[in-house]
């Protein structure tokens, strides 16, 4: 399993970098797979409504009405039909890549099981939508699908009469059958939308719309494809003739050859086993749970920054329970908490300067408290000497910083780069513990905890609370985002950053604070 993930991860990283040559990180299609899937859903919905206006439910009328759209009204109806098909295919493509990428990034276990688990019925519902859609055209492909599907359904002991018997002879099919199919074809996407909503319930700030540029680009692609290669039917269905050769839409119908090759029970067993494996994958094996975040009410003033920053909706505000003069207090839902520590990184009380009293932030990780991080920073930096001393703060999901071999650097690892409060950077420079700080998190667009990289960038840029203090020399901070396998890239970026630091330990930085260097690995 880990080997498969590593291979997939390597492949995705290669593809992400290749796409990065032409797309910004915001527009990179691989960083917007879920949002693209949603976008295609809406394209399918709008184009489907248009096609439905002209669709007739009847054994001959169905085919004729689609042919009218394709031939007579090719400039609009035909394009709408093609958009309907290609956006549907795009949805399956995005969904498949989305699943593989989340699997490769290990973003499906632990508290994330719910999102993965609810994605499994989405997969099947999308397939049902596609099958019923192709069925409605009532061409040779539809005939093949209808017979193969009903023959497969008949292997289940739930139907009294074989429903494949409805497709025996040209006279055996009733117009009302198409009414049933159109009902299923409309109901299934609505149910799908409802499950998509459930799918995102445990995701904070889900990205369901791609960036405008990417949306425009992908839509123009679909329109161009619709004009160049319009969707067409495959000859009218004739129940007296076998559709011997069909042009399958492999995105939706790739499993159909199995129906011909295998007995029905084996097809159902295979589909059931695949579904079961996908459903229980988050527990194969289960992710080791951390204790998660805990709230210390003595230091919580109910500011709700932790709620804003939590990527998994694991922190909520509740009425104050301890009698202090604040309206609310933070409450952690341990079932949803992944233990990333981003909440502690957002807490204004997470200040390492506190010495007289014990350092206990309002919210902190129970098993990796920030007090320990401060002690660790002091310990590892005490071994640095001379000029260009650098502290590298890594994260558990990026490049393992402990293995870096760069002279005069000290390393610590956080559960997520977003767990480091900006005040800790201020602390390092104020105490002269290092001459530079390199924040090394996950690769751009693939932060394991979704917002660790984004919040860190915003905090360091002084655009998000808690802000990095103005007195901190920005040019002495490097942001190095690199995926776990990109050790050499990170080393190169860190060495490049070190070269920008003044050679003498007491030399002031050359650039004004606001125009600092960002080393993007």
């Amino acid at each position: 399993m880990n080997l498969a993930k590593t291979w997939l991860r390597t492949g995705f990283q290669w593809a992400e970098r290749a796409l990065g040559l032409f797309f910004s990180d915001a527009w990179n299609p691989l960083f917007n797979l879920g949002a693209l899937g949603f976008f295609y859903y809406w394209v399918v919905a709008v184009s489907g409504i248009y096609v439905y206006i002209f669709f007739d439910t009847g054994t001959t009328e169905a085919y004729d009405s689609i042919e009218y759209l394709t031939r007579d009204q090719w400039y609009l109806g035909g394009v709408m039909r093609s958009l309907h098909r290609y956006a549907s295919d795009g949805m399956v493509l995005m969904m498949g890549i989305h699943m593989l990428r989340e699997f490769s990034l290990d973003r499906y276990r632990g508290s994330r099981w719910f999102t993965w688990f609810t994605g499994v019925p989405i997969f099947w519902l999308v397939i049902v939508c596609g099958i019923t859609g192709y069925w409605l055209v009532w061409d040779e492909l539809a005939q093949y699908i209808a017979i193969a599907t009903t023959e497969l359904l008949d292997t289940l002991p739930i139907f009294g009469e074989p429903i494949a018997g409805n497709f025996l002879t040209p006279g055996s099919l009733d117009d009302r059958f198409f009414t049933l199919m159109i009902f299923i074809h409309i109901a299934a996407p609505l149910i799908l939308l409802f499950i998509l909503w459930i799918h995102l319930q445990r995701v904070s700030r889900p990205r369901i719309n791609p960036p405008r540029g990417l949306a425009v680009g992908t839509f123009l692609m679909l329109v161009a494809l619709s004009f160049v290669f319009p969707a067409e039917s495959q000859g009218p269905a004739d129940l007296g003739v076998v559709p011997a050769t069909v042009d399958l839409d492999w995105y939706y119908l790739a499993g159909y050859p199995l129906i011909d090759l295998w007995p029905g029970w084996l097809v159902w067993s295979f589909a059931g086993t695949v579904t079961l494996i996908l459903a229980v994958l988050p527990w194969m094996p289960p992710m080791r749970r951390t204790t998660g975040a805990v709230v210390n009410l003595d230091n919580c003033n109910g500011c709700a920054r932790c709620v804003d920053d939590c990527p998994f909706n694991a922190v909520v505000m509740a009425p104050r329970s301890d009698g202090l003069a604040f309206d609310q207090e933070a409450v952690v839902n341990s079932d949803l908490c992944v233990g990333c520590g981003i909440c502690a990184g957002a807490c204004p009380t997470s200040t390492p300067f506190r010495r007289r009293r014990e350092m206990v932030p309002g919210i902190d990780l129970a098993d990796r408290p920030l007090k320990g991080v401060r002690e660790q920073i002091e310990a590892v930096t005490s071994e640095l000497s001379g000029a260009r001393r650098v502290l590298i703060v890594g994260c558990d999901h990026g490049v393992p910083v402990a293995g870096l071999d760069i002279p005069n650097t000290a390393m610590i690892a956080m559960p997520c780069i977003g767990a480091l409060p900006p005040s800790f950077i201020d602390f390092v420079f104020s105490r002269d513990l290092a001459d530079g700080v390199c924040l090394a998190g996950c690769g751009e667009g693939e932060c394991f905890n979704r917002f660790g990289v984004r919040w860190t960038e915003d905090r360091v840029a002084r655009e998000r609370d808690p802000y990095l203090r103005r007195r901190v020399p920005r040019e002495r901070i490097a942001l190095c985002w690199a995926a776990s396998s990109e050790r050499h890239r990170l080393e190169g970026a860190v060495q490049g950053f070190i070269a920008t630091l003044p050679e003498a330990a007491d030399s002031p930085p050359a650039m004004p604070p606001q125009q600092g260097v960002t080393v993007d690995a």
């Binding site: 796409l19 493509l93 494809l225």
Partner: protein, 171 residues
């Protein structure tokens, strides 16, 4: 210049995605049946005779029944299995005992089977036994059929006419 190249690169990426989308939406073609073959389908539902004879109830037995349930005879509920045979050009293609459906075994026996057959002239024989006889058949029909490539020839059974129904080319 750099941004122009980036947009050109994006257009190329969209082009590749479009080709992938367009190609696999219709290709490669899948051959479900050799183009020169035709297909024979057997599909029908028919209830065989009850398993055992009806027995006339005695007056005492009838009296024991609820007034609205009284009847002169008692018949076994379960049906016999159907024995069905299908021969093509003297070769036995199918011979099976089809059990009755239903939890109590009182429903009709059902069959839905397809057989790929080379196109051309064929001698078709279909026989069925729906009684407790141990030899011979209760229904039998044969025909010479001329099947063209990809044609579907359907064999059904209609209890009201009491025999098999052939739908398709028949001579």
């Amino acid at each position: 210049m750099r941004s122009v190249l980036r947009y050109l690169g994006q257009a190329a990426v969209y082009g590749v995605i479009a080709v992938i989308l367009g190609y696999f939406s219709v290709a490669p073609a899948y051959r479900h049946l050799p183009e020169e073959d035709s297909q024979v389908k057997i599909s029908f539902a028919h209830g065989a005779k009850p398993k055992g004879e009806c027995r006339r109830l005695t007056a005492a037995e009838i009296a024991e029944l609820a007034p609205n349930m009284r009847r002169p005879t008692s018949c076994p509920r379960e049906r016999l299995p159907l024995l069905l045979e299908f021969e093509l050009d003297g070769n036995r293609m199918f011979s099976e005992s089809l059990p009755p459906t239903g939890l109590a075994g009182d429903g009709p026996s059902r069959i839905y089977r397809t057989f790929p057959v080379a196109a051309g002239r064929h001698h078709v024989v279909v026989r069925m036994r729906d009684s407790d006889r141990t030899e011979g058949y209760d229904y039998e029909r044969e025909a010479v059929v001329e099947l063209v490539p990809r044609q579907i020839f359907v064999i059904g059974f209609k209890a009201d006419t009491g025999n098999f129904v052939f739908v398709g080319a028949e001579r």
